[in-house]
């Protein structure tokens, strides 16, 4: 593992939502181990700090939105600058995760990108309507992630 491997420890710095210097922190959620490794590399190649989660529940826990976690009103800004999640996951789908994020006061401003290997317009529209920033077709390419990075920068 190289020195810049992703850390899953809590970030204690109080980041403003748009202020992340040169390295946005991305939470990548996918139940497939190969896809997790791939998306992590793609994001790191685009100068992002990456935390991965293997399912929606773990993702929510990391974000502090787990069922048994009290909403911390003192949270200043969010831990992550972007959430990228697979759509098809057992239990909580990427769509369910998207909804939970958008329903939370602390996290609703965080852009959420949905990935899927299936190009289904109704699925895509459903996600966009629920507030997804973007939909990306798997397998992701480096050029897709670079574009995403640019979009993220423009947002701030």
């Amino acid at each position: 593992m190289d020195a810049s491997s992703s850390s899953s420890s809590c970030s204690s710095s109080s980041k403003g939502m748009m202020d992340y210097g040169n390295e946005p922190h991305v939470l990548a959620v996918d139940d497939n181990i190969i896809d997790r490794k791939l998306v992590e590399k793609l994001l790191k190649n685009s100068s992002c700090k990456v935390t991965t989660a293997e399912n929606g529940l773990r993702a929510l826990e990391y974000l502090g939105l787990g069922d048994d976690q009290k909403n911390n009103l003192e949270t200043m800004g969010s831990k992550v600058n972007l959430i990228i999640t697979d759509y098809c996951m057992p239990g909580m789908t990427g769509y369910d995760l998207l909804k939970k994020v958008k329903e939370s006061n602390a996290m609703k401003e965080v852009p959420v990108v949905i990935m899927s290997s299936e190009n289904i317009p109704t699925r895509i529209n459903k996600c966009l309507e629920e507030g997804a920033q973007m939909f990306m077709l798997k397998p992701l390419k480096q050029s897709d992630v670079k574009k995403l990075r640019c979009q993220l920068m423009k947002r701030s």
Binding site: I34, K37, N45, C88, K138, K141
Partner: protein
């Protein structure tokens, strides 16, 4: 020079035969000095994951009462993994497999499982050979051929 040419021809044949597709090239292009074993790691994960899924599929199809939803879920995973590493024939076999799951066609599912196993073993063998050959080129200070 000779080794490079051999590797080039070998690799080119894998693409021509549809065993590997452009996604494999994408994967190789992601590798850099900060992570020189990236491709080997991903391929290794793919082998482990595939073998696990194929075992799960075999067991699932052996049940008296086949749970096609479960079978489909496993095939979906394998389709995803194979797609992500560029194992095109495995991916295509999975696509066919899923169609038969939808139809709940037991006979066809059994055939598909056999095909998936075959294609997996083929790509495993080819990838192991390819990566070994490419490693030799790298060890000799050369650059590996990329198939666009």
């Amino acid at each position: 020079m000779e080794m490079w040419r051999q590797v080039f021809q070998y690799k080119e044949s894998l693409f021509r035969e549809g065993i590997l597709d452009a996604q494999f090239t994408q994967l190789q292009q992601l590798q850099d000095e900060s992570n020189p074993d990236f491709v080997a790691e991903v391929v290794s994960l793919f082998f482990e994951d595939s073998e696990r899924l194929i075992n799960d599929l075999t067991r699932a199809l052996e049940q008296k009462c086949i749970d096609f939803k479960k079978v489909d879920a496993h095939v979906h995973q394998l389709k995803g993994s194979s797609s992500s590493v560029g194992a095109q024939k495995v991916k295509n076999a999975c696509i066919t497999f899923r169609n038969f799951c939808d139809e709940q066609n037991i006979e066809a599912c059994f055939s598909c499982l056999q095909l998936v196993k075959q294609e997996y073993l083929l790509v495993k063998n080819k990838l192991e050979t390819l990566l070994r050959m490419e490693q030799q080129i790298l060890a000799a200070g050369g650059a590996i051929p990329m198939i666009e």
